[in-house]
């Protein structure tokens, strides 16, 4: 077990390194950052000053060296746009994004796993068709449009929920639901497929042959067997959401998470801030995958032997 965790941590660290380096090189090589960051009529002197300030006058390798030495100290540089330490700017936004993604995931799991289970009980019949249609639609609707429609309906016409910003629970509902629908749709669909597959497994037939009823079979046996694929998918969903898909929802609802910050940073061409954001996002992705892997190993002891 320890070996496994260590291996995964090393792997994760390598990924983080790769991500950071990619952003580093992308922002410096694909274009001239100074060109991008200064307004059009800027004088050469301004540009030179900016170059100096950003440390871009040095060679690429020494920049890399500076970057890493700063990194080790947890210093991601100062955001050009906000003139504040990049990491702390991102840090302020993290809780908000986590709150959103957490709420969305919760709704997706709690609301949609049962849907998948119910759909799997009688595949091909009415309930299944209705649930599958619903999930498929949920997966197909663009989140930004869904959010806009929800705002139109629940915020403007009905006035139940605010349309933007964050504050109390009321602000969380619409954005969380918007995020949850596509995630939940996928989770329900994979729950359904896995359950259907499990229902026809021999051991379920054997359980029936021992006189067990459906409810008991599901609760005591099936759920555990179904958990691994669902957990894997849920972790992917969480990771993808954290890695950026929350951006769209955050933009629609003006939710102050680090996704929204990323958009602003791009608009402002603030590469320092961008580096920090991507680093944090990658950290979450790696963490989500690691947690899911560990959970799977706990649930399914066969993976230890593999």
């Amino acid at each position: 077990m320890t070996v496994f965790v260590l291996r995964r941590l090393v792997h994760g660290a390598l990924v983080m390194l790769a991500v950071t380096l990619t952003v580093f090189f992308v922002t410096r090589l694909l274009t001239d950052p100074v060109q991008v960051m200064t307004p059009i009529g800027a004088s050469p002197a301004d540009k030179a000053a900016l170059t100096e300030k950003l440390g871009l006058s040095h060679s690429l390798w020494s920049q890399l060296g500076t970057f890493f030495s700063q990194l080790v100290h947890g210093d991601f540089g100062r955001s050009y746009w906000q003139d504040a330490p990049a990491l702390s700017l991102v840090g302020q936004r993290i809780p908000k994004t986590l709150e959103l993604v957490g709420a969305g995931l919760l709704i997706a799991l709690v609301g949609f796993i049962p849907l998948g289970v119910f759909a799997s009980l009688r595949p091909g019949r009415l309930l299944d068709n209705v649930i599958s249609a619903f999930c498929l639609t949920g997966v197909s609707i663009a989140p930004f449009w869904l959010g806009t429609m929800l705002i139109l309906g629940f915020s403007e016409h009905l006035g139940w929920f605010p349309s933007a910003g964050s504050g109390g629970l009321r602000y969380l509902v619409l954005p969380a639901v918007t995020l949850a629908l596509p995630m939940g749709g996928r989770i329900a669909l994979i729950t359904r497929v896995t359950m259907v597959e499990q229902w026809s497994q021999s051991y379920v037939v054997a359980l029936r042959a021992r006189g067990y009823g459906s409810a008991r079979i599901i609760m005591a046996h099936l759920l555990r067997n179904v958990m691994v694929p669902i957990l894997t998918l849920a972790s992917y969903e969480a990771a993808f959401a954290l890695a950026g898909y929350a951006v769209v929802v955050e933009t629609v609802f003006a939710w102050p998470g680090f996704g929204q910050l990323a958009i602003q940073a791009v608009q402002q061409r603030d590469i320092v801030l961008l580096q920090a954001i991507v680093f944090i996002a990658a950290l979450f992705v790696v963490a989500a995958n690691l947690i899911a892997d560990l959970a799977c190993r706990v649930i399914d002891p066969r993976t230890k032997v593999a």
């Binding site: 990924v15 992308v26 694909l30 498929l136 359980l207 021992r210 067990y212 046996h221 061409r269 399914d300």
Partner: protein, 660 residues
Amino acid sequence: MSLTAADGLTSGIGLDGDPLARVRRGRRRLPSSTRILGYLSIAYLVLVCVAAVFASSIAPHSPINGVLPDRLLSPGWLHGKYLLGTDSLGRDILSRIIYGARTTLIIGFSVVVLSGLFGTVAGLVAGYRGGWVDQVIMRVADAQLAFPGLLLTIIVIGVEGPSTPVLIVVIAVYGWMVYARLVRALVLRLREEQFVRAAEMSGSKTPFILRKHLLPNLLPALMTQALLELARVILVEASLSYLGLGVQPPHASWGLMVSENQGYVSQAWWTVVCPGVALALTVLATNLVARVVAGGAVNPAASQWAIEPSGQATAERVDESSSITTPGPVLSVRDLTVSFAGAADDLVHAVQGVSFDIRPGEVLGVVGESGSGKSVSMASVLGILPDGARVGARSLEWRGKRISFEDLHRMRGRDISIIFQNPMSTLDPLMPVGRQIAEVLRKSKKMGRAAARARAIELLDLVGIPDPEQRYRQFPFEFSGGMAQRVAIALAVAPEPALLVADEPTTALDVTVQAQVLSLLKEVQQRLDIAIIFITHDLGVVRGIAHRCLVMYAGRVVEEGPTQSLFEAAQHPYTAALIAATPDVNDRRDELAPIPGDPAVAGAPTLSCAFAPRCSYSTEVCRQDLPILQIAAASATEPGRIRRVACWHEDSIVEAGAHR
């Protein structure tokens, strides 16, 4: 939607694989509702594509130049100039939607083709060559999957500027991994297929194998994946355009249209709703088509046996007051019939008019080849049926009392137990075996936790598992085949049933292990005085364990009687032929005597002797009329050794009889 039993029957239930875990090859028919939706979706997508290609001819107005005084006009379906209204710059929404379709589809198809080609090649190479090439490709793919994709895309676009080629390349860079992993997984699986191995071993070269064997089997899955990816890419492009990082104004893109008009949504809902609906419908249609293309693969193959808990028995409920409980057979079945829908929507009669008794403490062997219906008949009595199967019987009696199929099903796990062929797949893989036994005990005998645990350990010891306390906590995968079957036996005898049905319990085991498990079964049977119905195709096995035997062919019993009489002087030509065809270790003959032709496959109900085409004694009457199972004349005079035969020529065999 279920697997048709015909596949199971023709492919040899119990002979070449676990009947409970057969995976269907080939496609299954989709329910009509899905198919209709699929066709509708294809039609819609074709429409969108056509509109996109011929946008300049179809769009009523310019998508870019708006007529400002006409801004924010509501949709004029009936008489107005603008079918779907205008946006804030006076541009016709319908035209913009049509041009938006073009942009979206161009980007979508380009990305799918680009990432698909690259990913497929990468997956093929990784899967087929293996080794370090595989490692490298997969590491890169895995690492890339862990990247915060959308963010990086945003950054690159933000830095490079949002032009269409940039968009396409960046999105494609984030799509290839999916194909690579899929293709690699498929290739790895296909490589293990016997026919690929056979091709390799008979000298076929790699490009040939890739072309003729791998690709045709890959294409369906690739198509499905490509469609799913197309749906995803359309959404990504729309999201990017929404965020201002995709298609730029004044061009049209559905995502862009939503963001442009978001501020006007309360006054002019159509400016946002129409492009959104177009987007949603297109993505939905693509997803639906993907499902249809995947076909049976989306709904995984159902097992050979599913269970209808409510039972679909059509046995008549007989007036129960007329029954008298007499000491006699534990279970008495008369005229059992089982039929289900076949592959061609015809009715397959798997079991036709089977009758048998089983007495307390007796072992009844049920012998037959594939298609005989031996497993189906016994399974159906207990309600383990393929979906949609129909079971009927003239009468069912339990210990002399008339009962229904439902009653019999309720006795499962209490008075009747079952052991299956493959123990590994009939135990819950994620629960310790001891707990599974304890669970049965608590349910059937209402034991408390501690008592159940203790008894479970006792049972594990009874079936010869060393270190039962330790093994209690272990999972099925930690047991060998023979040990797992012992656990299955413990599970089956835990509720102390009166009847045990054993369906080919030793077929999947090694010879030496088989002998041990058989002797265990005999011991357990004698000790607990359980009646056993022992289904097998192996004459040698049934000889050593069964008191009486039923020989089945094409869904009917052709001979029945004490095992010894059956072997020493078979009355039915099939029984005799089967015995003659069975090789024996102690046999010094050189030639085996095969039975010509193939075993009969269950199909339409037989109205004459099903064995006649292969029988050396058959005459005209055999092909015309069905012989009834009745007491064999030769045995009528031997008390205690009554036999029944279904043959027009039973007397002929008496003379020629195989003496073994």
